[in-house]
């Protein structure tokens, strides 16, 4: 009797999730295997894939454009991941303070994070225009010279950083939720011991929001390595300009796969990306026990 009930449950359970099982096989498992296979072939869409072993992988590591795209991506990731964590945390602490129109200000900060990224890119390309842009006008107003922003390889990543941080709203909301879970008694106890604002932030707030930081770290790492929409538009429609400084990993992958139709080559790039991300995620997971505190429930 008991066995038959659990069997029936298994059957009903599987029936309910069957759309996902079909989707998993068709849209994840099959393409995953196929792209691994393509990565070992010479394949240009119109011809049959031809097995060439590890050639694509060897070629990639002697392809200067690939190395540039990898370098650009790592540099930008190393900028945006810490910058976004600090900004989101800072904004959350700021907007957790008792100030007027707090809800409205939170709304304003949240808004850009749901705006289509292409529109964001368009808006900021205009604001960052070296000659007519609003930002340089503000710079001039306070006595700073014009900055070249998107027209100089040395400045583009800062331009991209300013644009990307504009979408920080969702992360701020997560930090806010975590802040609101910290019992007030912790701060009161610290105040009795004479702790000032910075000590409280450093010793109580930051350690107790580490679960959010941990989540954000993995999330930001994954998307920053796949960052496409905004650099695509800012680098002149996927050209990676100026001087390949906007040539990010996903953009070079797109160029190979869909402009030059080098499907095998692009698949090898995709798998290298996948492996990099898996290793990075594992490292973060392994080290998380040392710095993530699940202090408050």
């Amino acid at each position: 009797m008991k066995i038959s009930i659990s069997k029936r449950r298994l059957f009903t359970g599987i029936s309910f999730i069957s759309p996902w099982i079909i989707g998993f096989i068709c849209f994840i498992l099959y393409p995953l295997g196929a792209s691994l296979y393509y990565s070992f072939t010479d394949f240009s869409l119109f011809s049959k894939p031809e097995w060439i072993g590890f050639t694509n992988y060897f070629r990639l590591f002697s392809d200067p454009k690939f190395l540039v795209s990898l370098k650009n991506t790592i540099i930008f990731s190393a900028m945006i991941v810490p910058a976004s964590i600090l900004t989101a945390m800072f904004l959350a602490i700021l907007l957790n303070a008792k100030i007027k129109a707090r809800g409205l200000i939170r709304g304003i900060i949240f808004l850009p994070s749901i705006v289509p990224q292409i529109a964001i890119a368009v808006i900021w390309i205009w604001i960052l225009n070296p000659k007519w842009g609003l930002l340089n006008s503000v710079f001039n107003l306070i006595g700073l010279p014009d900055a070249p922003w998107l027209s100089s390889p040395d400045w583009v990543k800062w331009a991209l950083l300013i644009t990307t941080l504009w979408m920080i709203g969702t992360d701020m909301v997560l930090y806010l939720a975590a802040l609101q879970n910290i019992p007030n008694s912790y701060y009161e106890a610290a105040e009795l011991d004479g702790a000032n604002f910075f000590q409280k932030t450093l010793r109580i707030t930051i350690p107790l929001v580490t679960p959010v930081t941990f989540f954000h770290l993995i999330n930001a790492l994954i998307w920053s390595f796949q960052y496409f929409n905004i650099p695509y538009l800012m680098g002149e429609q996927g050209a990676g300009k100026p001087a390949d400084s906007m040539l990010f990993y996903s953009i070079y992958l797109y160029q190979n796969g869909f402009r030059y139709l080098k499907m095998g080559y692009a698949s090898a790039m995709a798998w290298i990306l996948f492996i990099i991300l898996m290793i990075a995620t594992l490292i973060i997971l392994k080290t998380s026990k040392g710095w993530v505190h699940y202090g408050v429930k």
């Binding site: 449950r9 298994l10 009903t12 359970g13 309910f16 999730i17 759309p19 996902w20 079909i22 989707g23 998993f24 849209f27 994840i28 099959y30 393409p31 995953l32 196929a34 792209s35 393509y38 904004l91 303070a97 200000i105 304003i108 900060i109 808004l111 850009p112 749901i114 705006v115 289509p116 292409i118 529109a119 890119a121 368009v122 808006i123 205009w126 000659k131 007519w132 006008s137 001039n140 504009w166 979408m167 969702t170 909301v173 997560l174 939720a177 959010v212 989540f215 999330n219 496409f228 929409n229 429609q237 996903s250 797109y254 796969g257 869909f258 698949s267 798998w271 990306l273 996948f274 991300l277």
Partner: protein
């Protein structure tokens, strides 16, 4: 009490500092929107001035008319709206079923399978994009009229980890007593699903719909790869192409951006709390 008097001064300076910071923060997050609208209403001559003109004179609403006349932006908008509706229906339908199977029925191996579902969140789009493109190409779907939308729509009818996770979190918190009482009355699992759980989950379903809408509006890589016929373009794809073409007509480019952003702003204004809820449950956009 001399000490309390001395304390008041630093507090006011820190208050001033706080308000300066807040003004800076608001400017950063809000002025770009304002600037977009202002630029969209300027005449050609007023776009390129240094220092910039802050209030357009005359106000050129014609820029908007020009955008709709010169490009197919109206069509892109309509395409995106229809696409969003079809995709939202599929998302709600598939993910609520899947989430029910992962939360309201206990079966052997459920947690392990759910873990696999969560793992798919780590998979970069780029890995699956190429084989899927090859498959659709072989099937003759790409570049063949309306069929071109299938690659964008289909995946949503088979669930995805974000939305399943969000709905599962919601379903789990519905008391099991409700289901048990219905079972005693002889209700089937499916009947419990659509008679009890679905009506109780309206807020979560609205959240999923809104997040999906944002997602469709934002989606760029997939339309770029799959949509080859200009008539099928979505707003994001259309706007990107417009920006490349009208390099110097910033007033019209900004008019097009405003048109792209406004529907999302309206949705946000009317349904703000659902967004914040969705973000707090899953931590995603």
């Amino acid at each position: 009490m001399a000490s309390s008097k001395r304390l008041r001064n630093p507090i006011t300076t820190s208050r001033i500092l706080l308000y300066i910071t807040i003004i800076f923060v608001i400017s950063y997050f809000f002025i770009p929107f304002l600037w977009m609208v202002i630029t969209s209403l300027k005449s050609n001559a007023q776009v390129f001035t240094s220092p910039p003109v802050l209030i357009p004179k005359p106000i050129k609403f014609e820029n908007y008319i020009e955008v709709f006349k010169k490009t197919m932006f109206g069509r892109y908008l309509l395409n995106t709206i229809i696409l969003s509706i079809i995709i939202i229906i599929g998302t709600l339908f598939s993910n609520s079923l899947i989430a029910y199977g992962f939360s309201r029925i206990e079966w052997v191996g459920r947690e392990a399978v759910f873990f696999i579902l969560l793992l798919t969140l780590l998979l970069p789009t780029q890995v699956t994009l190429i084989p899927l493109f090859v498959t659709y190409k072989k099937l003759g779907i790409i570049g063949a009229g309306l069929k071109g939308y299938l690659p964008l729509i289909l995946p949503y009818y088979f669930g995805n980890a974000y939305n399943t996770f969000l709905l599962r979190q919601f379903f789990i918190n519905i008391p099991t007593e409700l289901s048990e009482a219905a079972k005693i009355d002889g209700c089937s699992e499916f009947k419990i699903f659509y008679k009890i759980i679905i009506p109780l989950s309206k807020p979560a379903l609205i959240t999923v719909s809104l997040l999906t809408l944002i997602n469709v509006w934002n989606s760029f890589l997939e339309p770029l790869v799959y949509l080859q016929d200009e008539k099928l373009y979505t707003v994001s794809l259309g706007l990107a192409q417009l920006q490349g073409k009208f390099v110097t007509q910033w007033n019209q480019v900004m008019a097009a951006s405003t048109v792209t952003v406004i529907p999302i702003l309206l949705v946000f204004l009317f349904a703000q709390k659902y967004f914040v809820e969705g973000v707090s449950i899953t931590g995603i956009k």
